[in-house]
């Protein structure tokens, strides 16, 4: 009887050391594996072209200086702080930090916690960034036309959750860009009237 027990013990320790050995082998191997870079980072896709349509508007009959001033004013209207600018190239970058708590998300987290007992992190705060770029409209020869410009704005946000993990995304809601460019148009009008 004792012999059998010893034998069983021996087997289980042997097996568990095997398992341990195997996991010791596997875990560092996982660590060694490098991040794979997706193959087509710099390839234009239909989605990217669609995004370009969304983010771009054309303004005629205004100088570049007036247009970029109008753009900077709108960004301030929206509460952004200017980060960088190079007016010679028509570039403005701005950002702001805002609350990111979302009622629906918190409700879902509570529901999840009640069901499973696990705490699900929810969005805490976010940094919203925008790049506003003005470029001249070009004719068929590729040379710039006078007082005709494209304005392109891209919004991105980095969201921090309650467990301090972050996620990031480029915003692509057509309504957002629609509303934004309405404000730009209004600002262009005010700029033209020198109000």
């Amino acid at each position: 009887m004792i012999k059998i027990k010893e034998y069983v013990n021996l087997r289980t320790t042997k097996q568990s050391s095997k398992v341990r050995g195997l996991s010791a082998l596997l875990i560092p191997l996982l660590l060694v594996g490098c991040v794979t870079i997706p193959p087509n980072i710099f390839v234009a896709t239909p989605q990217l072209l669609q995004q370009r349509q969304l983010e771009t508007r054309r303004y005629d009959g205004i100088t570049e200086v007036d247009l970029i001033t109008a753009g900077a004013n709108v960004l301030q209207d929206l509460g952004f702080n200017l980060e960088n600018s190079e007016t010679k190239l028509g570039v403005i970058t701005a950002s702001k930090q805002r609350d990111a708590t979302h009622g629906g998300e918190i409700a879902a987290a509570i529901f999840f916690a009640v069901l499973t007992g696990a705490v699900m992190p929810t969005s805490k705060d976010q940094t919203i960034r925008v790049a506003l770029v003005i470029r001249p409209v070009t004719d068929s020869n590729g040379s710039a036309m006078t007082d005709k410009y494209f304005v392109r704005a891209t919004f991105q946000r980095v969201v921090r959750r309650t467990d301090n993990s972050v996620s990031s995304e480029t915003l692509n809601d057509p309504q957002l860009y629609q509303d934004f460019f309405e404000k730009v148009s209004k600002s262009v009008f005010l700029e033209a009237q020198k109000i």
């Binding site: 991040v35 870079i37 997706p38 980072i41 010679k88 770029v133 891209t154 991105q156």
Partner: protein
């Protein structure tokens, strides 16, 4: 138990293969400076620095990047793309003589440098289209 130690030793020795701080700072890997420059650079037959920079900016925007900063005098543009992963790129434009521009780009994906020449090839071929000019390889 007897087996565990050698296995652990072998596995952890794989981890030791990671780069030191100096290697990370200098980031040269197996490539020489010249190799890196050759796939990261192209020349364009134009003397118009502003035109090249504006085309670079709009190309980067087309790829979904946000322009972080740009400088006409220095001829540099830095941009970031966020879509779950982070991609950062810096492009510099320098004049070579009076009628040629050298464009050079370097990029990183999350925490690793982008070293596959294919990505730079893709980038420059888009820049070509936006500039209406042909890119010539190398310095």
């Amino acid at each position: 138990m007897k087996l565990l130690f050698p296995v652990l030793l072998v596995c952890t020795s794989l981890l030791v293969g990671c780069a030191t701080t100096n290697q990370r700072v200098l980031d040269m890997g197996d490539e020489t400076q010249l190799q890196k420059r050759s796939y990261q650079s192209r020349t364009f037959e134009t003397g118009d620095k502003e035109k090249v920079l504006r085309a670079t900016i709009s190309t980067l925007q087309d790829f979904g990047f946000i322009i972080d900063r740009a400088d006409l005098i220095l001829g540099s543009v830095s941009a970031t793309k966020l879509d779950g992963n982070m991609i950062r790129i810096t492009v510099s434009v320098r004049s070579k003589g009076s009628d040629r521009m050298l464009v050079r780009a370097n990029a990183q994906f999350n925490v690793s440098p982008i070293e596959d020449p294919k990505h730079y090839q893709d980038f420059f071929s888009s820049l070509e289209k936006s500039l209406f000019l042909t890119a010539h390889s190398g310095e």
